[in-house]
């Protein structure tokens, strides 16, 4: 286990920002930590990084109590907490060099490498105050991976980025996990982000854990998979499938039929459409994490 929290809690005044949180993140996972704004995501991350002290509970890194590991464990952890704030009056290179020295020193070659990974090698000597938000965000990831950590904790890394920037960061996160074998703990309030990037997730609301597990399993178990089917006559297709008991919901948008049903039902549905003389040109699986998430969060609020 790369990261585990045991009843981790933080109280600010009379309010529990995080209450009895139990998370488990295993090696190689891209773990999405999902929740609405103010749910307690950043507070949890700040506790994990010793920026704030937990009011109760413990946390472990690499199967050892963090209190026993001491600060040395942060050599194996890279983090980007909220917005990436750097020393604006220093260059990106100088910022990374300084941070590297605190971690025991990194070579100039490694600094060049990470700047290349985040595509900032051409602006390395520019002062950070001249960087755009997206560039600072990428530099934030560069400092997180600087010392080749095993675990990378990213707190809302795509906040404030344009669509191109968001895609770049997401691709980078996936690449870090798949190409470099890193474990990623990704906090986000963006459902699509978690849906597209993460293998596992936990949903937190009002400081409490609502659910956690593999994204696929969670969606599968709750039957919230959506399949988009492109057919020549969507109206008739809807009529054909109307009495199918395994379908939870059918919606029609432009020329595409959106069918909410279990994955296992897909071949039968397509076969039924074809048998009824419809021409199926595309079957696109789409999960509907948003529906799932909202149902869980609303349920949590109801309690």
């Amino acid at each position: 286990m790369v990261l585990r929290t045991v009843n981790l809690s933080k109280r600010f005044g009379n309010r529990w920002a995080v209450a009895d949180l139990n998370l488990a993140v295993e090696s190689g996972q891209i773990f999405g930590f999902l929740g609405p704004n103010g749910a307690g995501k950043s507070t949890t991350i700040r506790m994990l990084l010793a920026l704030i002290k937990p009011s109760r509970g413990t946390y472990e890194f690499f199967d050892q109590d963090a209190r026993q590991l001491g600060i040395g464990v942060y050599r194996k952890i890279g983090a980007l907490v909220e917005k990436p704030d750097f020393y604006l009056y220093l260059s990106a290179e100088r910022n990374l060099k300084m941070l590297g020295e605190l971690s025991g020193g990194v070579s100039s070659q490694r600094i060049d490498e990470v700047l290349e990974i985040v595509k900032l090698q051409d602006r390395a000597s520019d002062k950070v105050k001249n960087y755009s938000h997206g560039m600072r965000q990428r530099l934030g990831i560069a400092q997180a991976i600087l010392c080749d950590p095993e675990l990378i904790i990213l707190d809302e890394p795509t906040t404030g980025l344009d669509p191109v920037g968001i895609k770049e960061i997401r691709d980078l996160i996936v690449s870090l996990a798949h190409d470099f074998g890193k474990t990623i703990f990704l906090s986000s309030h963006l459902l699509h982000e978690v849906e597209q990037v993460c293998s596992h997730m936990a949903i937190i609301d009002n400081g409490k854990l609502v659910v956690q597990g593999a994204v696929h399993d969670l969606l599968k178990a709750t039957d919230y998979f959506v399949t988009e089917i492109a057919v020549d006559d969507p109206e008739r297709a809807r009529t054909v499938l109307a009495d199918e008991p395994r379908i939870r919901q059918i919606t029609l948008t432009e020329n595409t039929l959106k069918v909410q049903a279990a994955v296992e039902a897909r071949p039968d549905l397509v076969e039924r459409l074809v048998q009824n003389g419809l021409k199926v040109s595309a079957v696109i699986p789409r999960t509907s994490l948003e529906d799932y998430y909202l149902s869980l969060v609303q349920h949590s609020d109801g309690q």
């Binding site: 700040r46 990084l49 920026l51 050599r75 907490v81 909220e82 750097f86 020393y87 100088r94 605190l102």
Partner: protein, 281 residues
């Protein structure tokens, strides 16, 4: 320990990468040659003030004014004016990181908070030492260059005439002591700086404490005598002691020890505050 030295070096880089650090150096660079030039051109008016009380007993022929005498008088800026340059940096060292959110970067590295606060404190000391010595070197160097060298006449409960070589090493000692005095100011500003995320507050706070303390130390009211030993400004004049004859080593040592106690107190409170602080910015 190595990490603390590394971190101190990095803190010095940060301090000397900010324009506010150079306000003090720039002011000294402009002000000292200006004063020396004016003294050379128009003479040293205070010379008359200093010799007036002794005019009946001594006959002064020529001018007593030289670069060393002007430098000696310039040391008076160390009381009230010069501390501003110290506060400007020391009050910013901790607060600016809180305001900028850069603690998140620093503290998520394998360095503990005690090491962080200690390295920042040492870097603040480095700056303080640098600017005090810069004032000393500028005022003595430029004084001798522009106004000229010679014996130093110290008028304090009589006349003490110090040869140039004797005066120079006393100046060195005086400025080293002055650096320690200014470090008391720096550590107070540093402490305030750990309590806030705005560097203006520590500057105003430190200035307020110094002004109130100086007023309390200056007022000739018997009741205030009781608290005077607990005011750190009561020991500020220690940097003039090397110009006494004989040098009161015991008094210097006692004053420095008390100032050290104040520095330790302010640093200790800074450490406690920072260790317990939740980094929420």
């Amino acid at each position: 320990m190595i990490l603390i030295f590394k971190a101190t070096g990095l803190e010095l880089i940060k301090i000397f990468s900010k324009w506010r650090t150079y306000i003090g150096f720039a002011t000294i660079t402009v002000l000292v040659p200006l004063i020396m030039g004016l003294v050379r051109r128009y003479g040293f008016g205070l010379e008359y003030e200093a010799t007036r009380s002794l005019g009946n007993s001594f006959e002064f022929i020529g001018s007593l004014a030289n670069g060393l005498l002007v430098s000696y008088y310039l040391m008076n800026v160390l009381w009230v004016h010069f501390p501003f340059f110290i506060m400007l940096v020391a009050g910013d060292v901790m607060a600016s990181e809180g305001a900028a959110g850069t603690y998140r970067l620093w503290l998520t590295r394998p360095i503990n908070r005690l090491q962080v606060v200690t390295s920042k404190f040492l870097a603040t000391f480095g700056y303080t030492l640098a600017i005090v010595l810069f004032l000393g070197i500028c005022s003595i160097g430029l004084g001798m260059l522009i106004v000229g060298g010679g014996d130093l006449f110290v008028f304090d409960k009589g006349i003490l005439i110090l040869s140039q070589s004797d005066a120079l090493w006393r100046f060195l000692l005086a400025y080293l002591i002055a650096a320690w005095v200014q470090m008391t100011v720096a550590s107070l500003a540093f402490m305030f700086s750990t309590w806030t995320s705005n560097s203006v507050g520590p500057i105003i706070g430190t200035y307020a404490v110094i002004m109130v303390s100086l007023i309390m130390a200056a007022l000739k009211i018997g009741a205030l005598e009781k608290i005077r030993p607990y005011l750190f400004v009561s020991y500020f004049d220690v940097f003039f002691m090397p110009f006494c004859d004989p040098i009161p080593w015991g008094d210097i040592g006692a004053s420095l020890l008390k100032l050290t106690a104040f520095i330790a107190l302010f640093f200790g409170l800074s450490v406690i505050s920072f260790m317990r602080k939740d980094i929420c910015t």
